[in-house]
């Protein structure tokens, strides 16, 4: 086992200092935060992540483990467990999509361990990334190439890809946050900031190793999900190879604000098919002001996938992704919502 330094600060402020000190002492430090550990420890066992220091954030649950409705927004502490948020009455009643995206993810055991902050930062399941004996993986070793391009790539992305990386963003919850225009409250050594969730993840481009816009030493403290007319008429539809304990092959997080059967506002995010949580704004634009017919839904779905770039084994995701979105839209159209 590789030795590493471990600390368990008792407050957010202390955690920031711990990490700041580590980075100051060793600017190239591979120090990492630890939350539920279901991604971080997994990658350490695989040698993909080799931190010289682990800063354990689990003592921050008291400070940032809340789930609260403040009258205008859902406020989700970064250290709330996935299971807690999935089962929370305010989440379930106000934004079913969020509860569904969490309860359809992973397994009960993982949901009891994993935190909301860790969840949105989970790493790709690309097998070439997870197995260090593959030399070519730009995400793991910048500039080394991409073994997946001509390899096994059924699970890989068709949207947001580049010649440098086609790895799928595997999570579910992030699509819900993205569709609902959530923002992320970030605590940093130099002070706090709040950014739109849409700005958290970075498409691979030529730098697939840079996955988020978090700066060194920054900690996600909270997600704020503002209420909208579309809040209640929302759902997360997940298509997968088995009934549970499995990542999405394709998914859609959709929220609608309807006036009669006409769309006032639509919010659409796609999962399982893209390199980052994927907002389908073209689809939203097409739906806005139209009657929600099957035809309209199909047109929107097509628009969402016009840029799709499939590889050898994942071409089916282009059509499956569209069908998933169509289904989600049509289901929402007929959904009864309590007013």
């Amino acid at each position: 086992m590789r030795p590493f330094h471990y600390s368990r600060p008792s407050s957010l402020a202390e955690a920031l200092i711990d990490m700041r000190d580590a980075l100051a002492a060793e600017p190239n430090s591979s120090a990492a935060f630890l939350a539920g550990g279901t991604t971080q420890l997994d990658l350490m066992k695989l040698e993909v992540s080799r931190p010289d220091r682990l800063v354990d954030l689990n003592a921050l649950r008291g400070e940032a483990g809340h789930i609260r409705w403040d009258g205008t927004s859902l406020r989700l502490g970064a250290f709330a467990r996935m299971a807690e948020a999935a089962d929370h009455p305010d989440v379930r009643a106000r934004a079913p999509m969020i509860a569904q995206s969490l309860s359809l993810a992973a397994s009960a055991q993982l949901r009891n361990m994993a935190t909301l902050g860790g969840n949105v930062l989970q790493r790709t399941r690309c097998a070439y990334f997870r197995d260090t004996s593959w030399s070519a993986c730009n995400k793991r070793v910048p500039g080394s190439g991409c073994a997946a391009l001509d390899g096994v790539n059924r699970a890989h992305a068709v949207l947001g890809t580049s010649d440098h990386c086609i790895a799928t963003y595997p999570g579910d919850f992030a699509q819900a946050l993205l569709a609902l225009d959530a923002s992320v409250v970030i605590a940093g050594p130099g002070g706090g900031r709040t950014i739109p969730f849409a700005r958290l993840h970075r498409a691979p481009g030529t730098t697939p190793h840079l996955e988020t816009s978090l700066r060194p030493g920054e900690i996600i403290a909270e997600f704020i999900v503002p209420a909208g007319g579309w809040f209640r008429r929302s759902l997360y539809l997940k298509v997968r190879d088995r009934q549970s304990y499995e990542f999405a092959v394709a998914s859609a997080a959709v929220a609608l604000d309807l006036e009669g059967d006409t769309v006032r506002e639509a919010r659409v995010a796609l999962g399982g098919v893209a390199t980052v949580p994927w907002r389908a704004r073209e689809a939203e634009a097409l739906l806005r002001g139209r009657k929600l017919t099957e035809e309209a839904a199909r047109a929107a779905a097509q628009a969402a996938f016009t840029e799709a770039a499939p590889h050898a084994h994942n071409a089916f995701k282009v059509e499956l992704g569209q069908e998933t979105l169509v289904r989600a839209l049509l289901q929402l159209a007929t959904m009864e919502t309590p007013r």
């Binding site: 086992m1 590789r2 040698e47 397994s107 399941r125 097998a127 070439y128 197995d131 004996s133 593959w134 073994a147 001509d150 390899g151 096994v152 059924r154 298509v239 997968r240 190879d241 088995r242 009934q243 549970s244 304990y245 499995e246 092959v249 071409a315 089916f316 059509e319 499956l320 069908e323 998933t324 169509v326 289904r327």
Partner: protein, 751 residues
């Protein structure tokens, strides 16, 4: 051949223990975590070993940084081909029974990805693991040959475990010439890995030239002898304990390189050594089910009767050893056809050698055959069950021999009735459920041989009237130790609570192999016979003793019941075992028994378990998600020793079938030859939510020929029939015939 066979005079009396749905004896230990598995053993002075395995599939290891590994704190030794001590037996030979060529660091060649290339031994597991990583191997790699497009084709004269690669009866060409319809089709099955929950583990300790081993093992006495050969010591110097197995599925019946290397390390270092494979390391040296490509040709006449049946399988094997999945043999014993040909070819690839896994051959062959039968029924415009009844075999098609017993017709009828098969529309894509999901019904016939091996057992009646029974059986979670104890108690005429049952180690008589679904019949037969041997001796004592109420009962005999011998001519006169022993001045009375098949019966009869499996699937018409919603299996497998355990076994087998049909597949990178999904997140098996409502019906079957007790096996038959039933139901739901397994979303959507 056609002479009537003599029936045994009467079925052996069955005591009150067999037939009871008793719960597992080891259940409480397991659910409370008190059951100790091999890796839970921590002898004094224990060292930990970690394997380094190859990341290339073919070539040679050109460099290992042994210095770096040795320099790591806690590392005690690094074993490579350079310093590996000699073995008394060549790991590349095949002279030991049921053995495969293994990789035990005999040279620097790499012949598959995941092959052990070094062992690092350290004071802690962490240090050993880090040491293995520090070896940072370099290779001279050669192009991997993996996948059917890249393999080396070769004829397969032998398949499975010593079966001929070709079997035929009748005139095939005449059969096809007489056919009014010929269906020709092909199916592909992938490489699958056993993936027992408990990884392969071993703890080895030497005391002089005595070796003691803790490891999960499905063939205790055979392994004992093999290990003795590898280390050049007498067989009795090897003691092996296999306390509990967290699943075996065939992969723990065959010795593999890592086990030999661990024992070698323990001898080299003079301390006990433990080696536990990681999950990823279970995708290499410890066997798997080889991939197949199968083609079938079925000729039928105007009435839907088979006129000819041809089944050809190309089965993947390694470049250095043979285990040819005998898939085509699934067509030899099930459906009546005047002409049958089953033949095999091999395809050598740079992979670890396949081995027996969950009905080897029967499962993959049945998958293809049952789908092909469905295609032929469809082409003939017949209901799939009707089609199978038309082609019902009254005698074994390939040998012409009578079956020892065959209640398949009852299985079809009871299964169909319970499932509600009647009224199934012939055409596909006719049924939807209330949520608009396409619904389909499919079926398959189940068939599995009823083999017996050799086993011995001992029973000792004690002064207090209780007994000790022993045989080295293997409980893999199937409940063997419960069912075996039931049979032992019946042999003794005791209640099961009066019987102490010992098993799972070389301290006991050879219990044979827990494999081939023959363990209960074989080891159970031995135990029952041992008990009867004790009763016979006791009877001799009592009936010859003028002071016993049984004196002189010799002619009409006595019956052993509830710890007493009872006169057959006068039930009021009986005597307790303890009293008989006491008067004879005996502390104990020992008997022995053997389990094996009567060779005359084996020669004269074809012996199989049978069944019928019905499945309902739901398929989302647009999203392609496939879920099995119901399965009903009806099985006739001789006398059922414990219906609760038997049902569990059959459920398990049917779930294996679901897993085969929809989930399991080792996905290879063709460039490197490596398995890319070597963990349980990537290698799918069904989770609870995938498991449908299930019913397993036990059909009465009185088989007087398989063995005295009429016992067949239920361990593996459940997977046969089930794969086809599900695939056929998917066709019935969607109208799409998918000819590769597992069946995926994109397949049913035609994408």
């Amino acid at each position: 051949m056609n002479e009537p066979l003599p029936y045994p005079a009467a079925p052996v009396r069955h005591g009150s223990n067999s037939g009871q749905p008793m719960t597992r004896r080891d259940g409480r230990l397991k659910v409370t975590g008190a059951a100790t598995y091999a890796a839970d053993t921590h002898p004094e002075g224990l060292l930990h070993a970690a394997l380094a395995v190859s990341s290339i599939a073919r070539g040679r290891v050109s460099f290992l940084d042994v210095e770096a590994a040795k320099a790591h704190p806690g590392v005690v030794e690094v074993i490579t081909p350079q310093n590996r001590p000699a073995l008394a037996h060549d790991p590349d030979s095949k002279t030991l029974p049921f053995s495969f060529r293994m990789d035990a660091l005999q040279n620097d060649r790499v012949r598959y990805a995941g092959q052990p290339i070094a062992v690092v031994v350290a004071e802690t597991l962490e240090a050993a693991t880090e040491g293995a990583r520090l070896l940072a191997p370099r290779y001279e790699a050669e192009a991997a040959r993996i996948g059917f497009g890249n393999g080396l084709p070769e004829p397969a004269p032998m398949v499975g475990v010593g079966a001929p690669g070709r079997a035929e009866t009748g005139d095939l060409e005449a059969g096809f010439a007489a056919a009014s319809q010929i269906v020709e089709t092909g199916y592909e099955t992938p490489a699958q890995y056993h993936n027992a929950m408990e990884p392969h583990a071993i703890v080895a300790a030497w005391d002089g030239d005595h070796l003691s081993i803790d490891m999960p093992n499905q063939a205790i006495a055979m392994s004992q002898a093999s290990f003795a050969a590898f280390f050049g010591i007498p067989v009795q110097n090897v003691s092996l304990r296999s306390p509990f197995l967290g699943g075996g599925f065939g992969s723990k019946a065959i010795l593999a390189g890592p086990q030999v290397l661990c024992i070698l390390a323990a001898r080299m270092l003079g301390r006990p050594v433990k080696l536990v494979l990681t999950r990823a390391q279970m995708y290499g040296p410890v066997g798997h089910r080889g991939a197949t490509r199968q083609t079938l040709r079925l000729g039928t006449d105007a009435q839907g009767r088979l006129t000819a049946l041809e089944h050809h399988a190309v089965s993947e094997t390694s470049t250095f050893d043979d285990f040819i999945e005998p898939a085509a043999n699934a067509s030899l014993n099930l459906y009546a056809s005047p002409a049958i040909l089953a033949r095999h070819d091999a395809m050598r690839m740079d992979t670890g050698t396949p081995g027996p896994m969950r009905a080897p051959g029967e499962a993959s062959g049945s998958a293809a055959l049952e789908c092909a039968m469905d295609e032929a029924a469809q082409a003939a415009g017949l209901d799939p069950l009707t089609f199978r009844l038309i082609n019902y075999a009254e005698t074994d098609p390939i040998s012409g021999k009578p079956y020892s017993a065959k209640e398949l017709r009852a299985c079809y009828m009871r299964g169909a009735e319970s499932f509600g098969w009647a009224g199934r529309p012939l055409a596909p894509r006719q049924m939807r459920d209330e949520n608009g999901l396409l619904t389909g019904w499919g079926m398959g016939s189940a068939l599995f041989p009823a083999p017996m091996f050799q086993a011995e057992a001992r029973a000792v009646l004690r002064a207090d009237g209780s007994a000790l029974v022993e045989t080295s059986g293997a409980d893999m979670g199937q409940g063997a130790w419960t069912a075996l104890a039931q049979l032992a108690a019946d042999g003794l005429g005791l209640d099961i609570d009066q019987v102490e049952f010992r098993s799972g180690s070389t301290d006991q008589p050879d219990g044979g192999i827990a494999g081939g679904s023959g363990h209960t019949a074989t080891a159970g037969g031995a135990l029952h016979a041992a008990g009867r041997d004790v009763v016979a001796r006791l009877t001799e004592l009592a009936t010859a003793d003028p002071e016993s109420p049984l004196f002189g009962a010799g002619n009409s005999g006595v019956t052993a019941r509830d710890g007493r011998l009872v006169r057959n001519d006068d039930e009021s006169r009986s005597e307790a075992y303890a009293d008989i022993l006491a008067r004879a001045g005996l502390e104990a009375l020992e008997g022995t028994g053997r389990g094996a098949r009567d060779p005359a019966n084996a020669e004269a009869r074809a012996m199989f378990s049978h069944g019928a499996v019905f499945a309902e699937v739901k398929v989302d018409p647009e999203l392609g998600q496939i879920r099995v919603s119901r399965m009903v299996g009806a099985f006739a497998a001789g006398r059922i020793v414990n219906p609760r355990l038997a049902r569990s076994q059959l459920y398990g087998g049917m779930i294996w079938g679901l897993s085969f049909a929809l989930h399991e597949e080792a996905v290879h990178d063709l460039r490197s030859g490596r398995v890319m999904n070597a963990d349980l997140a990537g290698y799918h098996v069904p989770v609870n939510a995938d498991t449908p409502a299930m019913e397993a019906l036990l059909i009465d079957e009185d088989d007087r020929f398989v063995n005295d007790l009429g016992i067949k096996g239920v361990g593996e038959i459940g997977i046969t029939g089930s794969v086809g039933a599900i695939a056929n139901a998917i066709w019935h739901a969607t109208g799409v015939r998918v000819r590769r397994f597992p069946i995926r979303i994109e397949d049913v959507l035609g994408l």
